[in-house]
Amino acid sequence: MQLTIKYFGMLAEATSVNEEEVQTEVCSVSQLVKKLKHQHPKLSDKNFKIAVDQKLVDQNYMIDSKAEIALLPPFAGG
């Protein structure tokens, strides 16, 4: 299945893309994160939350169909 991955904030800088398409089998969020970190080593030391189709989910959430995935880092600036 095809996933659209969107990177926010410093994650877009770390991956050098704002958005990309990724092909994957049914997987958990943590498996997907592992795959993305392998693809973009600079993500490894970054902190972020994952949203699947605009809903924040935890590491165990199963992604089983075409979806839009967002990687959301915390911002501190004010």
């Binding site: 969107k6 926010f8 410093m10 967002a70 880092p73 915390p74």
Partner: protein
């Protein structure tokens, strides 16, 4: 309520009317930080006639703030931000009460201060204060209007409102210290905090007026380069909410800098080490490690033997510790601080950095 032409343009909106204006006038809002986000928040809330506004900020106005912190001009340079903001806002609207707190928000003052207000608006610029604000909002049972920025992107959300999620439900763990650069380190487009702060002001007004759809448990993100925005729903995570509640018991003693991994260990530069007097230098490396820094005449005490050694040292003695690169020396400082030594620091970069300056001095 007497007719006040100041609010005419919003009172004629049927959604607000005189009853809405009365709600605004009765409301009490505390804004944490009068910086990039705080300035537009304060400006719009003051103009809208929020009856009581609190501003807490310990910082002073710097010229590098002026491109985005729109309440200040050259005449405010060097002034405390809470006081400078109050001064400007009293001219904007003299009919409301503005309380300035020119101090740092801490675990000692947060809960009692929050208790005096209905809504808390977060315009801070660091993670430790953000977690402190979140937990104090949970403890004091106050809604939190959150905003944060990074370069060209911003986030807005409302937390701890009507049993909704908290900031910890969104970001349970603070990022590693230093891993997320601040505006002062990486820069920010001046208009971005203007947009995000205005959205925070808007959410605050909607909460008071019971208008529209509040970003309750919704993370709104905005990218000012692409003009794209997104909204993400944040589920409430009870285990995260209870972490904040659990902190209520000993809240005043919690160190949020430590929680966020920010070191309190004082550091000195290698160059300065050679200029210091009446200092006991301790080299905590193993005996075989080179180069030795003989110019400092240190005591040689490998980290593993530190405990026996420090029993003999006066706790008022000024001590500077170093190791090879500055990692073991931090551990040594922590150990000394635990045992109530009063003046302890370590050398940034350790013997490697010291050696460079020792050689320069010899030449």
């Amino acid at each position: 309520m007497n007719f006040n032409p100041r609010y005419h343009r919003q009172v004629i909106l049927p959604e607000i009317g005189t009853s809405g204006q009365e709600k605004l006038n009765a409301a009490k809002v505390l804004v944490i930080g009068a910086g990039g986000l705080g300035c537009p928040v304060l400006q719009y809330l003051t103009a809208a006639g929020i009856g009581t506004i609190g501003i807490i900020d310990f910082d002073t106005v710097d010229i590098s703030n002026l491109h985005r912190q729109i309440l200040y001009g050259n005449s405010a340079l060097g002034m405390n931000k809470a006081l400078a903001a109050k001064h400007r806002l009293e001219d904007l609207n003299p009919d409301i009460t503005i309380n300035a707190y020119p101090e740092k928000l801490t675990t000692k003052n947060a809960v009692s201060l929050f208790s005096e207000y209905d809504i808390i608006v977060d315009g801070t610029d660091n993670f430790s204060t953000r977690y402190l604000v979140n937990d104090a909002c949970v403890i004091a049972k106050k809604p939190l209007v959150y905003g944060a920025i990074f370069k060209f992107e911003g986030q807005v959300a409302v937390f701890n409102y009507q049993e909704g999620p908290t900031y910890r439900c969104l970001f349970p763990e603070p990022p590693k210290a230093g891993s997320v650069p601040s505006c002062s380190e990486i820069g920010v487009l001046g208009v971005l905090p203007g947009i995000i702060g205005s959205m925070q002001a808007n959410e605050t007004l909607k909460i008071i007026l019971h208008l529209g759809n509040i970003l309750n448990g919704i993370l709104f993100t905005y990218d000012c380069l692409t003009a794209q925005s997104s909204s993400f729903s944040i589920p409430r995570v009870e285990s995260e909410v209870s972490k904040a509640i659990a902190n209520a018991k000993n809240f005043e003693t919690i160190d949020y800098d430590v929680f966020c991994g920010i070191s309190k260990i004082s550091e000195i530069n290698a160059r300065d080490a050679f200029e210091m007097n009446n200092i006991l230098f301790i080299d905590v490396r193993e005996p075989h490690e080179q180069p030795k820094i003989d110019n400092l005449n240190p005591d040689y005490v490998p980290l593993g033997q530190l405990q026996q050694y420090i029993n003999k040292i006066d706790k008022k003695q000024k001590i500077v510790v170093f190791c090879q690169s500055g990692i073991r020396s931090k551990k040594a400082v922590e150990k000394l601080l635990e045992q109530e030594f009063e003046h302890v620091s370590h050398v940034k970069g350790g013997a490697m950095a010291l050696y460079e300056f020792q050689t320069i001095k010899e030449v």
